[in-house]
């Protein structure tokens, strides 16, 4: 793409960092206000926050202000350095995750061949932060919560990896940008009115992926690690103020980023079917798509994040043994069969 002005490399890097921050924090804020504050309240026949701003729309700023004012407590017997580093490790994992998500034909932070693989690898770093938080708090509830979280995240990472493989086989690439372009330029049995979003053939993979995401985010019904009736608040028990805020932001920001990735893998990402405007390839896409693309992405992201939150507010918690059995005995076999069938169909057609 040719821009009217050439931006020097340091400027591009600065813009990338800025864009990444916006792409992480904006969805997080929107999800918290729209779903956590408002949708949950309406589902429970109440209004939710109404005082700060019109319809309580400034509530987020009030909340952040409140958390920033609180005292920053580190337990006396805690391992101070590990305790302080843990929330940052979790947040860094989220920021690294957004780096490979493409938002438009030229609007991406970075793209390389191992995109999906990178995303799966980076998302597992947050487990480390949770373990660090649980151990360093010097609190048995924290430690139990951290161990539960690690066990759960390891168990659900496998079906997540396996469910994505179906998409990789179909697209023939692990590059997220290529996957988006494939979905929007291919056709279903010669009809190209909708492109070819992989949810059409990979519905099982999509289902497994979304369930694994729910578990990876430790959202109800998979919230054993922070089960408040048993473990106070799990690995977050000893955290207060700013550090708790970081955990909180990371949780919802990761929900947003995973929704973005799911929309890229299964729903066609930033693209609209190329046949609508007669685009032949990536190079012939009009430049306005770099503005429209992120909007399309955000829309799909909101729908998927809405589903994640909807499930969160609707279902009771799994027991620990049910949770493990569900991952190992249902999700992994199902996704293995899905991979096999996809491979057979790929070779046959």
């Amino acid at each position: 793409m040719n821009l009217a002005v050439t931006i020097p490399y340091w400027g591009q890097s600065l813009l990338r960092v800025l864009g990444g921050t916006v792409a992480v924090l904006l969805p997080a804020g929107t999800i918290v206000y729209l779903f956590l504050f408002k949708m949950m309240s309406f589902m429970q026949s109440r209004l939710g926050p109404m005082e700060a701003g019109p319809y309580g729309s400034m509530q987020l700023f009030a909340e952040v202000g409140k958390w920033l004012q609180k005292e920053d407590i580190t337990p006396a017997r805690a391992d101070k350095r590990v305790f302080r580093a843990a929330p940052l490790v979790v947040l860094v994992s989220t920021f690294l995750l957004v780096a490979v998500v493409p938002f438009g034909p030229d609007a991406y932070f970075t793209q390389f061949d191992a995109g999906i693989f990178y995303m799966l690898a980076v998302s597992s770093i947050s487990t480390l932060g949770i373990l660090m938080a649980g151990w360093s708090s010097a609190n048995k509830y924290s430690l139990l919560g951290g161990l539960r979280a690690a066990g759960q995240l390891i168990a659900y990472e496998l079906p997540m990896v396996l469910s994505v493989l179906g998409v990789v086989i179909q697209a023939g690439s692990m590059n997220l940008q290529t996957i988006v372009i494939k979905q929007n330029s291919d056709s279903i049995f010669g009809w190209n009115g909708l492109g070819y979003p992989y949810i059409a053939t990979q519905f099982v993979g999509f289902l497994v992926f979304m369930i694994s995401v729910q578990a990876e985010l430790t959202q109800t019904p998979f919230d054993m690690p922070i089960a408040e009736s048993e473990l106070v608040s799990g690995y977050m028990t000893e955290y207060s103020g700013f550090r708790f805020l970081i955990f909180f932001i990371a949780e919802f920001a990761t929900a947003g980023v995973f929704a973005l990735i799911a929309s890229v893998l299964f729903l066609g990402g930033w693209g609209i079917p190329f046949s609508w405007f007669g685009w032949q390839s990536v190079d012939s896409i009009d430049n306005w798509m770099n503005v429209a693309g992120p909007l399309v992405m955000i829309t799909k992201m909101m729908v998927l994040a809405g589903i994640i939150m909807w499930v969160r507010f609707s279902f009771p918690r799994f027991r620990e043994d049910q949770l493990q059995r569900f991952a190992w005995k249902v999700l992994i076999p199902v996704s293995l069969i899905n991979i096999m069938l996809t491979a057979i169909f790929k070779v046959a057609f």
């Binding site: 590990v82 693989f117 690898a121 597992s124 770093i125 487990t127 360093s136 010097a138 990472e157 692990m174």
Partner: protein, 175 residues
């Protein structure tokens, strides 16, 4: 012939910084008095080597390093340690007395072997990282190699892993 313009200044500075961090973290792994601190330092070493792979534009290897070592091996290791014995604060019997006497020669031997193999194997070979004909960072090439010329070692390796998994099940099952 190596020209002055061939030297990639930024990459070299990056390499130096990351290598220094790796060496410091590696020393912390063996001198730390706390088993979890040692494990966390080991994670820093592994993250450093992943970063070095990235500098060599071997993204796939770098990502594998993060996924396998940081995301799986070290998480499982920490999980196991925290489940059984992970005291906060110092742990006196963590260090083996006189381990330096064995450790240092082994480390030197390893260094010698690796330096010899690398210089012998590559000599003056230059791998073009950018421009035409460069295939650095292409996954398809890697997979083509694994499933064609290296298919037999790949199968052999998977049999070894399968045997290990079965062995783990046999050992863990009580009945």
């Amino acid at each position: 012939m190596m020209l002055a313009s061939d030297i990639q200044v930024a990459q070299n500075i990056g390499f130096g910084i990351i290598a220094a961090v790796m060496v410091l973290a590696a020393i912390r792994v063996v001198t730390s008095k706390n088993v979890v601190h040692a494990a966390l330092s080991l994670i820093a070493v592994m993250a450093g080597s992943a970063a070095q792979y990235l500098l060599l534009s071997a993204e796939f290897v770098a990502v594998t390093q993060v996924l396998v070592y940081i995301g799986a091996v070290m998480v499982l290791f920490l999980f196991g340690v925290m489940l059984t014995r992970a005291k906060l604060g110092k742990d006196v019997d963590l260090d083996n007395k006189g381990a330096w006497a064995y450790g240092a020669p082994v480390a030197l031997l390893m260094l010698g072997v690796m330096v010899y193999v690398l210089t012998k194997g590559f000599k003056d070979t230059k791998i073009s990282v950018s421009g035409k004909g460069s295939n650095v960072g292409q996954n398809s090439l890697l997979s083509d190699k694994i499933f064609s010329s290296y298919a037999l070692p790949f199968w052999a390796l998977s049999f070894v892993l399968l045997a290990a998994v079965i062995g783990a099940i046999v050992l863990a099952r009580k009945d």
